[in-house]
Amino acid sequence: MKTNFKRVFTGLVGLAFVLSLISPVVSFAQTNRLNTAFCSRIDQIIAPIEQRMTDREAKLEAKRQEINANLDKRRADRIGRLSDYRNTRDDNREAQYIKLEAKATTDAQKQAVASFKTTVETAVATRRTALDSAISAVKQSVNQSIETRRTAVTTATSEFKNAKSTAIAKAKADCSAGVDAKTIRETFRASMKAAQDKFKSDYQAIEKLRGSFESVRDTRKQAVEKALADFKTTMEKAGSDLKAALQQ
């Protein structure tokens, strides 16, 4: 047992001695190897970052085009369907007026029907104007919000790309100057992290730009609700007046 212990102890001491001898050599060789490998492959190492930025910027642009197309299609479809709806309902109201006129036998009743028709058409026009105005205001607000957002995003992405280019140029210059690979890498990482954090901060601010749209949306929503409420009031009064006239 003692003999074994001596052997193990001697072996460990020997191992520690060997390690102490080879460690600095290995460390130096490793550092030197990394330095050479890092700087000789710097373009190759950076390429994926640049490629991803290019690809994702292209995807962002494609997304913008998709949004534009979607928005245009929605608006065109909405306008067309609303126009059809109104034309159909205009025709239907005319048919209603004709039936009402047929029921009016006296001049007073005929006058009451004519008055009802005028009141309704005026109310419908007022309501439609309010609605169209609200839809138009929302459209403008959406366009403006998108434009403002895109301008801000373009600025943020440009700053991020510029920061990346600066960081890459610095890394290459440091390589040429023989700066230690670890230092170059850490400097590059710090620069890119700062640029990325700045972009995130910009992005969070951009997200808040929605406020302008929300404000317009809420104001116009209230306007439309009021227009509809006014229209309902007008219609109920007009209906009540006509019923009274036709019963006489």
């Binding site: 060997v18 962002l60 979607n70 909405r78 609303l82």
Partner: protein
């Protein structure tokens, strides 16, 4: 008499072997010992046989066992106490395998004295290389992992675009009855329906931020552990 004869033959054998080593032919040797031709013939036959079949000659097992049992256990008169238990185990078949294993182990112990230092250095070298390689690889793996995650999030970039609304009201031609209440209700229904178009216009606002994921993905183009 026999002893004298045997000694004489032993001397002759020694001299014959010497002559043979000196390169003399068998005829010359026979000529030197004319009275021992018969014995010389046997000797030469034995020498030729050994020369020819030497590698294939095996002793009788029983004879070999007897010879080996007479050989002392060590070169000194004192036997190694470490192997004394083997004597006790002799004759027991269950111990024979253990004995063989013990012999192998003893042989390995001796080998390890030589192999261990070289092995330790080799292991250290492998560990150092492994750490450097694994470090690089694991970093690359992280990058790949990150890359994968990021690519997955990029794949989620395609947000479902807001479809063109299919729930917008379609106008119907309602029958005109001439009833005031029915007429008023029909016109009021128009107002409610048109309000749906405004609600649909508000939905356009969702497209303002429909590029959020794309912007976010662009911001994630750089992986911190990549460089």
């Amino acid at each position: 008499m026999n002893d004298h004869n045997d000694k004489k033959i032993d001397e002759i054998v020694e001299r014959v072997l010497q002559y043979t080593d000196d390169g003399k032919s068998s005829a010359e040797i026979f000529a030197l010992f004319p009275d021992y031709r018969e014995e010389l013939r046997e000797i030469f036959f034995a020498v030729e046989f050994v020369k020819k079949e030497g590698g294939k000659i095996y002793p009788d097992k029983e004879i070999f066992r007897q010879v080996m049992s007479k050989i002392p256990t060590s070169v000194t008169n004192q036997s190694n106490p470490r192997y004394s238990f083997m004597k006790e185990a002799q004759g027991r078949s269950s111990w024979s395998k253990i004995n063989n294993l013990t012999k192998t182990l003893n042989s390995m112990t001796i080998n390890w004295k030589i192999i261990a230092p070289f092995g330790a250095v080799a292991v250290v070298a492998l560990v150092l290389v492994g750490v450097s390689q694994f470090g690089t690889n694991s970093q690359q793996a992280k990058i790949a992992e990150n890359g994968q995650v990021q690519e997955q999030s990029t794949a989620g970039d395609n947000q479902a675009p807001i479809a063109v609304s299919q729930d917008l009201p379609v106008a119907k031609q309602e029958p005109a009855t001439g009833d005031v209440n029915e007429t008023v209700n029909a016109i009021l229904a128009d107002a409610s329906a048109e309000g749906t178009y405004f609600a649909d216009a508000i939905k356009d606002g969702e497209l303002i931020t429909a590029d959020s994921q794309s912007i976010n993905n662009f911001g994630q183009s750089y992986y911190e552990n990549e460089f």
